[in-house]
Each structure stands twice: as C-alpha cells, then as structure tokens.
C-alpha cells in the first residue's frame, strides 16, 4: 500500500501512522449536547466503500493527512493536508 503525501509525494505505508476515521475535523461545539458528543466519541461508520481516515506522516514530514480510500478495492482516491481539508 502506498500513500501520496501532499508534501513528500508517494511513499510506502510503513512511513505512516493510522489514526482512524477523520471525525476529528468535525469536533462538536462544547455545548452541542450529549447525543452529538456520544456520536463523536463512540460511534463510527464501518463502510464497505469510500471512507475518510486521518493518517500521520510520522516517518516523513510530520503532516496530518486526510486519506479518502475505498475499503473494498483498497484504492486511495484522494489525499490532502488536514490543515487545509474541509470537513
């Protein structure tokens, strides 16, 4: 598996640390209520298809990257810097 870092280019998967679903970009407001926070902290989709993850280019430039990929085909569809990604 290879991931294209927006800074470094295409790199081996071993350079990256996997964080999980890219929900950190959609953190609820402090007063959003129990349901929104319960959903944010505990509930995750498990799609057969397109999903968005956060990966950290740990063995590289240190950027957080939003990776859009397909869990069925293993295709990486898009990568972007988390600092520039819109949720």
């Amino acid at each position: 598996m290879r991931i294209t870092c927006p800074h470094c280019g295409e790199r081996d998967r071993r350079e990256f640390y996997y964080r999980g679903a890219a929900v950190d970009l959609e953190r609820p407001a402090p007063d959003a209520g129990e349901e929104a926070w319960d959903n944010f902290v505990y509930l995750r989709d498990n799609p057969a298809g397109v999903t968005r993850d956060l990966w950290y280019h740990e063995g590289g430039c240190g950027a957080w990257i939003v990776v859009t990929r397909d869990t069925v085909t293993h295709e990486v569809l898009k990568t972007e810097l988390a600092s520039e990604a819109k949720s």
């Binding site: 470094c8 081996d12 071993r14 280019h57 063995g59 430039c61 240190g62 600092s83």
Partner: protein, 181 residues
C-alpha cells in the same frame, strides 16, 4: 566547577570506511529549527535571504551551500544549519536552537546510493534525487533527514540519541554493498 569537555554525537564511532564508501561526522555549526508563523513564509524567506543568503526552502529541497544551509524538514518546518540565527528571523518564525539535539554525518562514495537503497524506502538515485534535494523518510527504523550535498555525497541527520544506531545500520549496509563486490 570542573572543566567540562563537549563530546560530539558520534564521538568514538566515526569515521568509518567500508569498501568504497565512507561515513564521517559533520561539524556543521549551529542547528536552528525555523517554523514560519502563519502567513509569514514569504517574509521569513526574505529575512533569511537578507541575513544568511538563502531562501526558505520549498518542500523536499535545501537552499544555501555548505556552511550555511536551510534544509526543509517537514510541515511548516526547516532547519537553518551553520550560522547563528539572525535576530530578524524571530519576527516571522518560531526559532529554536537544536544544535546539540542532532547527529549529522556525511555518507560519501561512488556506491553511497546503493548503501542508502538498503535502508531508505525512497528512490535516492541521482537521476531522481539531485544535489539540493532532501527527504524526510525512514533510515531502517529511524526517522531521518537525508540531503544530497554532492555528486556522491549525502548529509544524514537523526536525533542525537540514535547516533550509535545510525552508525550501526550504515555500517551493516556498507558491509552488505562491499560484499556484493
């Protein structure tokens, strides 16, 4: 107080030559982490040019020359290597002295590329990776900064605490390349 004697990161470990490749410790002077403040990259680059003669490096690039280099080190991060940082930089960047935090070595020889090919999961051959190019990647299990500084020469930086591991891994790869004849 007793007089303290400064030891370099690779004291007692280098220099080392195996076959046609050698590795030696570089005394590069000051090493300063420079991170541009938000929206200040251009102004920082101008300040770097005025004070030290090199622009802020683009991703995967190094600017300047031996003795006064700026090496891209990652997301919003470069390292000024050589001169003491001019005070004017602090207006545009977070500036942190890291001189004693890194081990810096020079890997040189006509088969240096082959040594790195055993350790680094990035193509560093000269057709692709030219003088002034740099990468952040892994050197075996360590994070490293690798810059081509000559036709057959690379500058390698790792955290100082990894100096002995760096020399061990380089030596093993150098022996492997030499054994292949």
């Amino acid at each position: 107080m007793d007089k303290l004697i400064a030891k370099t990161a690779c004291a007692g470990l280098l220099p080392l030559t195996v076959g046609s490749v050698s590795v030696s410790e570089e005394d590069v002077g000051a090493i300063t982490s420079v991170s541009p403040l938000k929206g200040q990259k251009k102004a920082l680059s101008d300040a770097l040019k005025a004070a030290h003669g090199m622009a802020y490096p683009a991703a995967n690039r190094a600017t300047g020359k031996s003795g006064a280099r700026a090496v891209w080190l990652g997301h919003s991060h470069a390292m000024l290597i050589g001169p003491e940082p001019d005070a004017s930089l602090e207006k545009h960047a977070a500036v942190v002295d890291q001189s004693d935090a890194w081990a810096v070595v020079r890997l040189e020889g006509d088969r240096a590329e082959q040594v790195l090919a055993r350790l680094v999961p990035v193509d560093l051959r000269s057709g692709h990776f030219k003088r002034g190019h740099t990468v952040r990647s892994l050197l075996f299990h360590m994070t490293a900064s690798i810059t081509r500084v000559g036709e057959n020469a690379f500058q390698i930086m790792v955290f100082r605490s990894m100096a002995e591991t760096l020399v061990h891994d380089l030596k093993r790869a150098m022996e492997g390349v030499a054994t292949r004849g």
